[in-house]
């Protein structure tokens, strides 16, 4: 199920290849056994209850954490943890992680410079992505002068601007109020459509995962294993309030209810 994005995919090399991944902290496992393949241009969500090892897995993908077992590769390059080379990705964190003492433009420039993008291309590229995220008027602002939603837009623009093999998003909308989060979800899909990016999106909200994704990797309670690699059976464009979407959500809730244990999925069905 290929979205509107550039179809220069070969199928042979997945953008993300995770095989038999295990991660332990001081002997106790945080992630037990995870396999995941993401193809070019896909939007894949990783869904799991709190403490299932979602963030751990993301840290491994980002090269911040060394896996204890298994193999992780991004764009065909093996990710070896902090000692290895940093993988080619953009990362949208739960909080914005902008440098508050650098302007919006400078924050993105730093990422471009580090990626080796020639200086002559910076201005046009930054303006293009800031415009895409509708925050071009804040290019010269200090991040702390922006609202939470605007900061997260900058963070997304930064991840896009380095034009990476893939973008990791770790519950990027969870700190925003519901109205802002809704419009951001919609815009995120628009941006994904227009740029053809490959996105791996971590969330604990079932409805958010259903609304956004081509596929959902449903994890068990920690230590995480894959419960199901779920193909979302909904055509795009989708509407957040669509009853069909609510039905898919209910179906997933049904699947995970006893697996996640009582309380773990509370409230998700209602959002």
């Amino acid at each position: 199920m290929e979205p509107t994005a550039t179809p220069e995919q070969h199928g042979a090399i997945s953008v993300v290849a995770v095989e038999d991944l295990g991660v332990s902290y001081d002997g106790s496992p945080a992630v037990e056994r995870i396999d995941l393949h993401v193809e070019h241009g896909e939007f894949v969500s990783i869904l799991g209850p709190s403490g299932c090892g979602k963030s751990t897995m993301l840290n491994v993908l980002a090269g911040l954490l060394e896996p204890s077992r298994g193999r992780v590769a991004i764009a065909g390059v093996e990710v070896l943890g902090p000692r290895g080379p940093a993988p080619d990705l953009g990362y949208v964190f739960q909080d914005h992680r902008l440098l508050p003492w650098r302007t919006v433009r400078r924050n993105i420039e730093l990422a471009l410079a580090a990626k080796g993008v020639p200086k002559a291309a910076w201005r046009e590229r930054i303006d293009r992505y800031l415009t895409l995220l509708k925050i071009d008027q804040f290019a010269e602002s200090w991040p702390l002068r922006l609202s939470g939603g605007q900061r997260q837009r900058v963070s997304i623009a930064r991840a896009l601007a380095v034009e990476p093999a893939m973008i990791l998003m770790d519950e990027p909308l969870s700190t925003l109020d519901e109205v802002t989060a809704r419009s951001m979800r919609q815009e995120l899909l628009d941006v994904w459509n227009r740029t053809g990016s490959t996105i791996v999106f971590v969330t604990h909200s079932i409805r958010e995962a259903v609304f956004l994704s081509d596929r959902i990797l449903i994890l068990s309670q920690g230590p995480g294993t894959v419960l199901e690699d779920y193909q979302v059976p909904l055509a795009r464009p989708r509407r957040y309030e669509d009853p069909a979407l609510a039905q898919v959500e209910a179906e997933i809730v049904e699947k995970v209810l006893d697996r996640w244990g009582i309380g773990a999925g509370d409230g998700e069905a209602a959002t």
């Binding site: 902090p82 990362y91 508050p100 650098r102 580090a114 990626k115 930064r158 109205v179 802002t180 419009s183």
Partner: protein, 272 residues
């Protein structure tokens, strides 16, 4: 765009101007209290000076003494000598202290190695440094500078390493994910976080330098404000001791306030 995303009112330039005006008003209010405190101190001083005549000079006698000193060429000679020593200690202890503090904050082994050294250095009474410096290098500028630097540096180290250790590790992660090199990690991620610590360290080292320099000069120098105070003490001219102390205090306060305020405003403009 949602309502939440609407730009925060006004321009940034206006916001900065507003904030500076508020800061100035707070500073003005602070000034009133400072004047009041000084007035009360003088009110206590006055009866005390009459009671303890002639060992505590009256404010009037001290005032006359201040004017005399300000007309005296030797005073400026001493002031210059002392200022030079303070500046030397400030720059050297600042440079050394920041370097060592950064190293300790970033390296666990450096931290473990130097922590006890710093703890001891902080506990040693300042005159001990003076005595050992004089015993090693003899009486002279070199031992004065050395004693000052050794006495002040541990304070700077302490402030800087604490601040490095308390840095935002999440920004380190961000820098790693976006492949920032060493230079950008220092210049753009780490050092700006340390600016408040640098300002605090600067204030501390400046204040300490000028407190200790007087002791050092008293013990080991023929010139400088400290030596002059000791001379006046030997001749039992307490009004001169008071006069030196007051002139020096006012001068140092003026320097500190102006410098710190300028530096703070420049370095922390990004704060909302």
């Amino acid at each position: 765009m949602t309502i939440q995303d609407a730009p925060p009112g006004g321009g940034t330039a206006r916001a900065i101007a507003d904030r500076d005006r508020i800061a100035d008003r707070v500073a003005d209010a602070g000034f009133t209290w400072q004047v009041l405190a000084i007035a009360i101190l003088t009110l206590i001083w006055w009866p005390l000076s009459i009671q303890m005549e002639p060992w505590v000079p009256t404010p009037v006698a001290t005032g006359e003494s201040i004017l005399e000193l300000l007309r005296d060429g030797d005073f400026y000679h001493n002031l210059l000598a002392t200022s030079r020593r303070i500046l030397t200690a400030f720059v050297a202890a600042g440079t050394l202290g920041v370097a060592l503090g950064l190293w300790m904050g970033l390296s666990r082994s450096a931290e473990q190695f130097f922590a006890p050294v710093i703890a001891i250095a902080l506990a040693v009474p300042d005159p001990v440094y003076v005595i050992f410096a004089v015993l090693t290098f003899g009486v002279g500028e070199r031992s004065t500078d050395l004693a000052l630097i050794v006495a002040v540096t541990p304070f700077v180290v302490n402030i800087v390493r604490g601040s490095v250790a308390a840095r935002d590790l999440q920004l380190d992660d961000m820098a790693r994910v976006y492949r920032f090199g060493a230079r950008r990690r220092y210049r753009d991620v780490l050092l700006p976080q340390l600016v408040p610590a640098f300002l605090a360290a600067g204030r501390t080292s400046f204040a300490l330098s000028w407190k200790i320099v007087v002791v050092v000069e008293g013990l080991s120098q023929p010139t400088g404000i400290g030596a002059a105070i000791l001379d006046s003490f030997h001749l039992l001219r307490t009004r001169e001791v008071f006069a030196y102390a007051i002139i020096f205090t006012v001068l140092m306060q003026a320097v500190e306030h102006t410098a710190v305020r300028l530096a703070t405003r420049r370095a922390l403009a990004w704060r909302a």
